[in-house]
């Protein structure tokens, strides 16, 4: 069965979907999203204490962290390659914070996950 490339949850939008098929699927998806703007009702917003941000004030070498037992060989990492520099994070920790930011020699960076 042919599948529409954009499926809406609300049935009243199906006529809109029919019109959209007149355009290329990719262009229509982009245009529709641009027209919609940000829908606050659809956003899932947490309070500020749900996931504390990770503002980085100190780092150590990966080898030192291994030697100290802070991480081990099985610890999954994420490595940022920013123009400010390269920095590793622990996947489990970023999965909680969802972001980290700081600076390297005065150049600010931020990552999100």
């Amino acid at each position: 069965m042919p599948q529409p490339s954009l499926v809406r949850r609300s049935s009243h939008l199906w006529p809109t979907l029919t019109l959209l098929t007149l355009f290329t699927a990719a262009d229509s998806r982009a245009q529709e999203r641009a027209d919609q703007g940000f829908d606050l009702d659809r956003a899932f917003i947490l309070d500020s204490t749900a996931n504390l941000p990770f503002y980085v004030t100190e780092t150590r070498s990966v080898r030192q962290a291994l030697d100290e037992g802070a991480i081990n060989e099985a610890t999954a990492l994420l490595v940022m390659e920013h123009r400010a520099g390269t920095l590793a994070f622990v996947v489990d920790q970023l999965a909680y914070h969802h972001m980290a930011q700081g600076d390297i020699d005065g150049e600010h960076w931020m990552v999100s996950f």
Partner: protein, 227 residues
């Protein structure tokens, strides 16, 4: 990304979900920002975009030590699991999309299954999604033309993730866990080496090892790789 707007550093924090992905809030304006594109979606700076996009690459500890001479790590006060977590690797478990996430999505791009895993690659001109199953079916690597440049996409056994780097190679073959390119270069332990065994710095496009639903909603005009 670089959290500086008009010369002033803004302080961000995770504040929720929208279109299936995280949104951040900056404390200075209270605006909501897309965590992948760095675009302000809502608030006084709506339409602004953070500069300095940078890759965040999945790596094992061994791989990270192979790739970088001196790598620093930032460790927070959150507990670290001693063994492989549910986030490792992303491709191992394929749960259903939670309602909490689905309810934030206006629509869904059904060209790929919702929870499909792949590598999204993009620049200013092209966005392309490489389904993991297609890379796997192609002996764990493909060489593709991406915005007039040759791109190698491969499943990195060291990082347990898909990864992409620009290359001059036109073919490759696996020898044990090394991917040997016909330029003489090879990839071992996540690091790129020259034919003489000297380590090279890989040039990588922006990339995200991700599930389809969030990537497709972030880049609605994305192409999908086809062999």
């Amino acid at each position: 990304m670089t959290p500086v707007i008009d010369g002033k550093t803004h302080h961000f924090e995770f504040r929720g979900l929208y279109d299936g992905v995280s949104i951040l809030m900056d404390r200075e304006t209270g605006g909501y920002w897309h965590h992948i594109t760095g675009e302000c979606l809502y608030g006084p700076l709506e339409g602004a975009r953070l500069a300095g996009q940078s890759n965040l690459l999945h790596m094992s500890v061994d791989q990270a030590l192979n790739v970088y001479d001196e790598l620093e790590i930032a460790i927070s006060d959150r507990p670290i699991r001693g063994s492989r977590s549910r986030w490792w690797p992303l491709a191992e478990s394929v749960p259903a999309l939670p309602d909490r996430l689905r309810n934030t999505m206006a629509g869904e791009d059904t060209r790929r299954p919702t929870m499909d895993v792949g590598l999204g690659v993009w620049n200013q001109n092209v966005q392309r999604y490489y389904p993991m199953e297609l890379v796997t079916a192609s002996n764990d690597y493909v060489i593709d033309e991406f915005d007039s440049r040759r791109l190698l996409i491969y499943f990195d056994p060291a990082g347990h993730a898909l990864s992409a780097l620009y290359t001059q190679a036109t073919s490759a073959e696996w020898r044990e866990k090394e991917l040997v390119l016909n330029t003489g270069e090879f990839i071992r332990g996540g690091a790129l080496y020259g034919s003489g065994g000297n380590r090279l710095e890989a040039e990588r496009p922006m990339q995200l090892f991700t599930r389809w639903y969030g990537y497709a909603l972030t880049f609605p005009t994305t192409e999908i790789y086809e062999p």
